[in-house]
């Protein structure tokens, strides 16, 4: 049923630390590796070694430059996948009942056997979290690795989403954001975790932690380029000092 559950006892999701992410794309690669082989249709790659490669990915890493009013610009690597929204517009628009939000843990999933591949859910999502697979013709999206997190055949340390497991920097955290005492909830509270596009009214479960403010050295030189100027000696040095005295 594509009606949303009124509330879910658990809100499983990700917390992504933009201060730490180094933009290595390891999370996206491991996501693709895990999700292309486990359940349902594989994630297509078209013209993979040709001139115009294109493929289905459930996680994509953008990089942004943020230019403050003063000081140097800052680069922010920005992984983006399904945010498992509480008020998920992708679920309610689905005509076949393939798209649903699980009542027990809040994970938004697609039943590929029921999906007719109309693409309306991808249009309804503001985040670009859903991609219609060009080969299988069904909608693919992040499952929060529902086939890992409850999988007792895996060692306990592997019972987390593939992207979280792969991150070499510890920028991705997985947990229950509905439990105010959970580790991820504490992180969000401490670091001021926020929602993407709150104006769209989707109430995302996933949260993003903002980059920490960069150090500003009050005693340091305002202009680093000055330090790089060569010291003048000899006649030019004398001229320089003479001009400085006159000026």
């Amino acid at each position: 049923m594509t009606s949303l559950p009124a509330s879910t006892p658990r809100k499983l999701g990700l917390v992504i630390d933009l201060d730490i992410c180094v933009g290595c794309h390891a999370c996206a690669v491991n996501c693709k590796e895990w999700n292309t082989g486990g359940y349902g249709a594989p994630l297509a790659d078209e013209d993979a070694y040709g001139a115009d490669p294109s493929g289905t990915w459930l996680n994509r890493i953008h990089t942004y430059e943020v230019q403050p009013a003063q000081g140097p610009a800052q680069l922010v690597h920005f992984p983006k996948s399904c945010l498992h929204c509480e008020d998920a517009p992708c679920v309610t628009v689905c005509p076949t009942g393939a798209s649903y939000k699980r009542a027990e843990d809040g994970i938004v999933l697609v039943n590929e056997d029921h999906c007719m591949g109309c693409g309306l859910c991808a249009w309804a999502c503001p985040y670009g979290a859903r991609e219609l697979d060009p080969v299988a013709g069904v909608m693919k999206k992040c499952t929060l690795c529902a086939d890992r997190i409850y999988n007792r055949n895996l060692p306990e340390e592997d019972r987390i989403p593939a992207c979280v497991r792969a991150c070499p920097a510890g920028a991705r955290h997985f947990g229950d954001l509905g439990d105010p005492a959970s580790e991820v909830s504490n992180l969000v509270a401490e670091r001021g975790g926020y929602d993407l596009m709150p104006e769209q009214g989707t109430k995302p479960v996933n949260k993003y932690l903002p980059p920490r403010a960069r150090d500003a050295h009050e005693t340091g030189p305002a202009d680093l380029a000055e330090l790089a100027e060569a010291e003048t000696t000899g006649f030019l040095g004398w001229l320089d000092k003479a001009l400085e005295r006159i000026g």
Partner: protein
């Protein structure tokens, strides 16, 4: 947004067919034998043909029947259910009318209400998407309803002209005028409804606006993707002005002039009016999709 030919054909052709069903169901139009048959068959063929075309863009057509199941929550499912119901009610009404000559008013009214509700549901599929302001922050349902009811009247006029029955020419001219006015209303609203018009920006999309001005530095992929093909569509936009002029002239101006001329020169001009209207509406509906901007493209640095 990617303008899928199947959806453009569906919304235009089925819209006209459902508009025809509405007027015929309300008892408007001649009772002449040949007109009954031609108008009913045309209405049915356009609606069903558009419906079949609409499955053209589906990835898994064998699951299309499941779209009748989610009418409680989904406008697309409501559209499917209402269209099937409208065709069933109109089919029964038309069968009794064509074979027996009697118009069962209550059945006709039911078909008319279901046909109008179907067009409204189609419009709401687009109007519900907050992610596409040019559909959701504009009078899209009024525009779709006006187009369907006007197209239906022109098509019934053409069917009457071909069968020698009295054609509702004056009413068709009035409807074209009203529909053109609503189209201008929609276009005016759409002109200001770009992807950033409802408060979304790269700053809200990334949440980094408090730090400074945000610019896309590097995209996640060097090639293309479904996200770019489907929701950052830009091909052919540079010809938008010419196409819109063509659509406005063929879709509204030509049918209006032909309808007025038909009052003196004969109803046969309504056939040409229908052809012009269909071609013009296809052009305008292509622009409805191709020009619509999705907020998702903000992440790729589109403003």
């Amino acid at each position: 947004m990617h303008p899928a030919p199947s959806i453009i054909l569906f919304t235009v052709l089925s819209g006209i067919g459902l508009g025809q069903m509405t007027w015929l169901g309300l008892g408007i139009g001649s009772d002449a034998g040949a007109f009954r048959w031609l108008a009913s068959i045309l209405a049915f063929a356009l609606t069903a043909g558009g419906g079949l075309a609409s499955t053209g863009h589906l990835g898994r057509r064998e699951n299309a029947w499941r779209s009748f199941s989610q009418w409680r929550s989904s406008w697309l499912s409501r559209e499917a259910c209402l269209m099937a119901a409208a065709m069933a009610a109109f089919g029964l009404y038309a069968a009794i009318w064509c074979l027996g000559g009697a118009r069962i008013a209550i059945l006709g009214w039911l078909a008319a209400v279901l046909a109008v509700a179907t067009v409204y549901s189609t419009a709401m599929i687009y109007a519900q998407l907050k992610t596409v302001p040019s559909w959701s922050a504009t009078p899209t349902p009024a525009m779709f309803l006006a187009a369907a009811l006007t197209g239906g009247l022109i098509a019934n006029g053409a069917a009457a002209a071909l069968t020698g029955a009295p054609a509702p020419i004056g009413w068709a001219a009035l409807a074209v005028l009203a529909a053109a006015g609503i189209a201008v209303w929609w276009q005016t609203a759409a002109a200001g409804a770009n992807r950033g018009s409802q408060g979304s920006s790269l700053e809200t999309a990334t949440g980094l606006g408090h730090m400074g001005r945000v610019r896309s530095f590097e995209a996640p992929h060097t090639g293309t993707s479904y996200l770019l093909k489907e929701m950052a569509y830009q091909v052919g936009r540079k010809r938008a002005f010419e196409l819109r002029r063509l659509g406005a002239i063929l879709g509204y101006l030509v049918p209006l002039i032909l309808a007025l001329l038909a009052l003196w020169l004969g109803a046969w001009l309504m056939v040409l009016a229908l052809i012009g209207h269909v071609v013009g509406m296809l052009a305008l509906r292509w622009l409805f999709f191709a020009e619509a901007e999705h907020v998702q493209a903000l992440y790729y640095g589109r403003s």
